[in-house]
Symmetry: C2
Amino acid sequence: MIKVTVDHRAEEPPYLQLAGILRARIASGELAPGVMIPSITTLSQEYGVAVSTVRRSLGVLKAEGLIRTRPSWGTFVVPEAERPKN
Amino acid sequence: MIKVTVDHRAEEPPYLQLAGILRARIASGELAPGVMIPSITTLSQEYGVAVSTVRRSLGVLKAEGLIRTRPSWGTFVVPEAERPKN
DNA sequence: TGAAATTTGTGCGTATGTATT
DNA sequence: GAATACATACGCACAAATTTC
């Protein structure tokens, strides 16, 4: 475990910090395919950042193909086999 | 000329409409490398959408490699030779 | 020297819409 | 109908870098 919180005073912007934290939680297997990712609102409260900041973090991971969001359903980890390489 | 305004009542969200409009202006050569792209604030007023919406549109074009933003300087069209194909 | 204006980057809060449960 | 959850949009504020005067 390296980073577990968002530091608002660090140089790296919170949305990138949170993206990194979630990326690590996925890599570690804690957040795995089939496991429901905490809702945006929950993540917002957990990490003390705004909802829009969480959305931005998820946007990063979505662009990486790590997660997939289903409107009015939730956010999911993409199975490793389906992730774009690179 | 096909689309020149953003329709808030259309199905396509404004940020995608604006991205399409700017993409067309680039494709037509009106916005070319070396020509200064209107600032986010200007685009916001021109098209009647919020600054944050313009930013989102530019984010789409940036992801496509069509434009490049330089903080405290402006936004530029990427020369065709330097654009990623596909 | 330096102050003001400009421009992008980032963050927050709020509202509305739509789909699911 | 109510609660939940994501999608989109808006407006505001501040920071940092650059340009201009």
